[in-house]
């Protein structure tokens, strides 16, 4: 067991050694390091073949055709390309967008940008369990609604949205449907065809792949238009100019291939560890679960710890790498907007922990985490004044 128990896999994961091996084949002399756009020579064609193999591996995990996959720098860029690109392309069709208050900042900030460009955005409030009901989406649709954006798995609390039902609703109404699947892809089954997803944002580093690479799956039949965010060499069908990072893309492909092969068994194992973690923490008085009790991704557990202050709780857990909300949100130091959207007070939102498990998490680490959190909570509560009457 390493010195620090890493339970922040929703922020990022360790790269699987099998992925590292694939990436190394594309870096050094003798490897497939050539520019994959330089198909006029053999090394370039070999690099191109590696990229296309990875494209097929990414597509296969989400039921897409390889031609639908546009490689990006990550899910944030993919979300931006999807929302800004589609809204700008179809702006004459409608200026209304529907999303939820608990989306990742990559979606929320892109929506704010659309508002600055004259679009109107409806931000749906999820229930106390974090679920956005299909009926809420339906009620929000208007004749000028262009696009709905809903995440698959919430990055802070791990609840799973019914993207299939929302996708079918959107398809019926002729509304574009975007899904941020950064946390869900490879953890839970997802199929862009079955789930009627027009734009699917993906990343590698949440799935034991490398940071710095992601993809946007774009509907091809009928072809969906996007205005690119950047301009240059015209790579990725002109939607994402810039030299393709072969090693990163190959790493993403390997991570997705491994996930496709191991998702069932690994998901069950991680869900078992998550339940073991929750059973241990639930025995500590004043610890409550955030989000829906059963509609959850295998690897994310969010809890609120009443009676202790959040920063002190994190301080008292040096043996654990955990988050007090999403890593993205904690940069601001503000209480989690996701937990506040669920009705938690600022204090309770601030006293919350997100524990996220991954491929390399062990049962011994879970037991250590339960023991450490229980001890830290007891120590901090012992030093706190009695609540005022």
């Amino acid at each position: 067991m390493s010195e620090v128990v890493y339970l922040d896999n929703a922020a990022t994961t360790a790269v699987d050694p099998r992925v590292v091996a694939s990436m190394l084949e594309c870096l050094g002399p003798g490897g497939d390091y050539a520019n994959p756009s330089a198909v006029g020579h053999g090394p370039g064609r070999r690099a191109r073949a590696r990229v296309e193999q990875a494209r097929a591996e990414v597509a296969a995990l989400v039921g897409a055709d390889p031609s639908q996959v546009i490689f990006t720098s990550g899910a944030t860029e993919a979300d931006n390309l999807a929302l800004l690109g589609a809204a700008r392309f179809y702006r004459e069709r409608g200026r209304h967008v529907v999303t939820s208050r608990t989306e990742h900042p990559a979606v929320l900030d892109a929506c704010r940008q659309l508002e600055r460009e004259g679009f109107e955005v409806t931000y749906l409030k999820p229930g106390p369990d974090g679920i956005v009901e299909v009926a809420q989406v339906e009620a929000a649709l208007r004749t000028d609604t262009l696009l709905v954006s809903l995440m698959h798995v919430n990055n802070e609390i791990g609840v799973v949205q019914d993207v299939g039902e929302v996708g079918r609703l959107c398809r019926e109404r002729g509304v574009l449907f975007h899904v941020d699947a950064a946390q869900g892809a490879g953890k839970l089954p997802l199929d862009v065809g079955r789930d009627c997803i027009d734009l699917l944002a993906l990343t590698a580093h949440k799935l034991h792949g490398p940071k710095g690479v992601g993809a946007l799956c774009v509907r091809r039949e009928p072809r969906l238009g996007l205005v690119p965010l950047s301009h240059g060499g015209g790579q990725e069908r002109g939607l994402r100019s810039g030299t393709l990072p072969t090693h990163q893309i190959v790493g993403m492909g390997a991570a997705y291939r491994i996930a496709a092969a191991e998702m069932g068994e690994e998901g069950a194992r991680i869900a078992g560890l998550r339940d073991r973690l929750w059973r241990g923490l639930a025995a500590v008085p004043g610890i409550t679960l955030n989000g829906h009790a059963t509609r959850r991704a295998p690897g994310i557990l969010s809890v609120t710890v009443d009676g202790v202050e959040g920063e002190s709780l994190l301080y008292a857990l040096p043996q654990l790498a955990v988050a007090s909300g999403s890593a993205c949100a904690t940069v601001s130091g503000e209480p989690s907007y996701v937990l506040r959207a669920l009705g938690r007070s600022d204090r309770l939102a601030q006293s919350s922990l997100r524990l996220s498990l991954g491929r390399f998490t062990t049962a011994a680490e879970i037991d250590l985490a339960v023991q450490a959190i229980g001890a830290a909570v007891s120590r901090l509560r012992a030093v706190a004044p009695e609540p005022r009457a």
Binding site: G307, V308, E309, E311, S312, Y315, A316, P318, S345, D346, R347, Q350, R379, A382, V383, A384, P385, E386, P387
Partner: protein, 132 residues
């Protein structure tokens, strides 16, 4: 503990490890108390001081808050020993801020500590009524 985290200085780490001065006294005629803050605002403290004549002899704290705040309450219990009622009434949070290298963003929490000290001074028999 958390030795590589640059947000916390040596004194904060030392006091969070020991929590020196944490606890409370059995109530009695020689024990005064002051309280300030609000958990909903992220910081709450209760100070107790045992007195002899016109001096504090010992102090204890209970605190809810960030590590800087808890450590400052711990530090305070040692620095209040020997203080007079008048000195409590004029105690200034900046002393603790300097001793614990508290970042400016958290100065407001130390004002909570100052409020508790002054509340205790107000509760000293013969002192002014508490304003907290």
């Amino acid at each position: 503990m958390t030795a590589d985290d640059p947000r916390y200085g040596h004194e904060v780490r030392r006091r969070m490890a020991s929590l020196a001065g944490a606890g409370s006294f059995a109530s009695g005629p020689d024990v005064i108390a002051g309280r300030a803050g609000d958990r909903e605002q992220g910081a709450e403290v209760e100070l107790q001081m045992r007195t002899a004549g016109d001096r504090v002899t010992e102090a204890r704290f209970r605190a809810f808050g960030c590590p800087h705040f808890i450590a400052a309450a711990s530090w305070l219990t040692e620095h209040l020993a020997g203080a007079s009622r008048d000195e409590l009434g004029h105690w200034d949070w900046r002393e603790a801020a300097a001793a614990l290298e508290v970042p400016p963003a958290k100065f407001g929490r130390l004002l909570t500590l100052q409020d508790a000290v002054r509340d205790a001074a107000g509760n000293w028999p013969g002192g002014a009524a508490s304003t907290v």
